[in-house]
Amino acid sequence: MSDSQKAGLQVMNGKHRDHRCWSCGDMRAEHFCAACGHVQPAEPTDYFAFFGLPRKLELDDAGLEREFYALSRKLHPDVYSLASAREQAWSLEKTSQLNDAYRTLKDPLSRTEYLLRLEGIQLDEQSKTATELARASGVDKKQSVPAELLEEAFELNMLLEEAKRGGVDEELRGQLCATRAGLMARLKTMRDELRAAWKRWDGGDRQATVQMVDVLNRRSYLHNLVRDINEALD
């Protein structure tokens, strides 16, 4: 995940800003002046705040989409093609924030990762970016195998080794598919586990982050196993 999301946090803690409209001088709302409706300069903001949402994880997907469309209609550069260069630049900045925010919040996993980052919690080794980088560079990523998966992971690695050496015959294909089905079922139950952690967080339990990190780490581990199987089967 990129640093762009950290940037938001730093500025959030930054100095107090003037909230007067550049155009009419009135006090303004977040994106547009409440009085004259003009778009306001883009300021670094966290993605929940951009949508005027509390930092909670249970999200009304349809509502988020509606808000995304409504803000797009008002902020998009298409709407400002006849406006001043200054407003065009703000529209571009604001729309990129809007799109970045929507992309991050609409996906349950990236939303969870983003919240953890806002809370100062690093997912480091298991995060998507770390996985990608390690994969690309061919470096073996340090990762702790979740205890309950030790035996299964060991067996799977034997199968994958076999596939690498001698190719995938019918029998091996069957075994890999069965293993994959088991892993997929487990991934599914993790969604419920994550939901449970969300509920705790939204209810004010700050310890829920520990559960979230645990679920995300295990999920990422399982996900990588599934990916390895898919590659062997291809």
């Binding site: 209609r73 298409d78 093609s81 006849l82 900045e93 992309r103 980088l133 560079s137």
Partner: protein, 644 residues
Amino acid sequence: MADDRVVGIDLGTTNSLVAYMGTGPTLAHPDEPGKGVFIIPGEDGSNLVPSVVALDHDNHMLVGNAAREVLLTHPERAVYSVKRLMGRGVEDVQAELKLFPFRLAEDLAPGEVLRIQLGERSYTPPEISAQILRQLKRNAERFFGAAVKQAVITVPAYFNDAQRQATKDAGRIAGLEVLRLVNEPTAASLAYGLDKKQNGTIAVYDFGGGTFDISILKLQDGIFEVIATNGDTHLGGDDIDNLLIAVAVADIAGDLGLDARQHPDLVQRLRRAVIDAKIALSSRPAAELEVELPDGRLYQRTITREMFEQMIQPIVARTLEPCRQALKDAELTVAQVDEVVLVGGSTRIPLVRRQVEELFEREPHSELNPDEVVALGAAVQAKILAGGSAETKDMLLLDVTPLSLGIEALGGVTAKIIHRNSTIPASATEHFTTGVEGQTSVAIHVLQGEREMAKDCRSLARFDLKGIPPMPAGLPRIEVRFLIDANGILHVSAREQRSGKESEIQVQPSYGLTDEQVENMILDSFDNAERDLAERQLIEARNEAETILTALAKGRHNPAWTMLSFSEQRKVDELESRLRLALGGTDYNSIRRWIDELNQATMHLAELMMDAAVGSALRGKNMDTTDVGEGPAAPHPIGKAEFS
């Protein structure tokens, strides 16, 4: 009024078109009411301008059909399919050069923008494209009798940053302010969406002359949200032609003992012949190839549709994988796609239709002419950007970046910072630092593509962050912001955070023209253009005035005239004499003004006449009545051959 005409341009590999979304009927163009969206024809009356540029014997630049004739007789004086070279470096085009008779300039330095030899000069691909754009601009100016300065230009959805930048440069060189680059399949969806206000998921399969795109969109209450896109910027009807030419060349070598490749004009005649055969095979079971060799012998061959389909099957198959990938990226199954729309001349081939139907398990739509629909959509977007109208009020395009953006990290790997299919504008911020004490610059390599190693991705730019205050290694904190704008073009800005000063950074594109180069090209090409324009405007305004006066003379004999009120008639009479007076002088603005006023005053008359004509042979060129659904029998992009 004359300045706000924003046109939509489809700058195609094989053909280019210019379109406009108009507002009301005029008396001078009673059967082209100008209402709705329509294609602006060229001087020769045809909607398609072949994307061919050539030099005539006096070294004048020719564009379109005239240039295509030169291509047949003097192939060394003509350039076609230049879109394939846009935004590419010498090392990218080696495969292309084997198939296309591009003559690169001999003095090309490594890393320099390609230049193509044409006559005594060499031109970059954006300059050649600019010739085509300028022709379209002239066509539009002739049509309006007024200058056209702004345009929306379409590009393949799968175009990378360099190819987009090159297209934008071409617009600038042609004297057009490019308000927006719009992805071709997305533009097509706008044209389709204009009259069918409905919600759902659509797939646009766009198989053109040189490029293939697939885009999957979600339509909701006028919002056109692209969910995923994929494609191949070097796959199109051109490839089918080259395949057929290769077969013919092999035939001629084997049966007639002649190496056709030694005769460029013969190759071009073969090209012409296989294109005709390809088009014929869309509606007939067999077609005849017949080409005269330089020694007078005749090469003849029959191609059946069965043979044709067998030959092109691998090419058509190459379009299917991107479709599957786009569906996967959109997290959709085939059953969740409500409609499939066909765009591009190559979708007239029956095999293509069958394969698309098989893959998506439904019959694809092709109500709008697949050659024109992209330009029509570009005109709709142009209208939106020009302030919109009642029809476009709720329409908004949300497009995506087709390729992931990354930076080269340690060990030559790509670290992705903006993933493909992210809605644009999109941004990412990265932090960099120094590795050596006192280091004052950091090199950054920006990439585009999906591959894991930097060397396998497209290099967009290498630049240095310069002017970093000397500090111990690892202490500077340089924030670099990457922003992909609504055109899909990347902007980079940087700031050193420890010292708090905005540092000056230079972004040097890996391929592409510098601003200064583009400026020089604009100057180069505008030697006489402005003066010419003034003269042309006057001539055209006079012509238009004559047209409207003639139309008015006829209108007075129409029963509709008597339906006007007395004061309406008086007003028309008065404006008529004012226009006649202005015609006596050489003041363009005055003629223009009275044309516009007379147009305005006769609008009611035009409407009454049109109402009366409804049901008769009146056939406007607006969206609702554009030639539709002709299927395989309709002409191909290059089908309207004036010579054979």
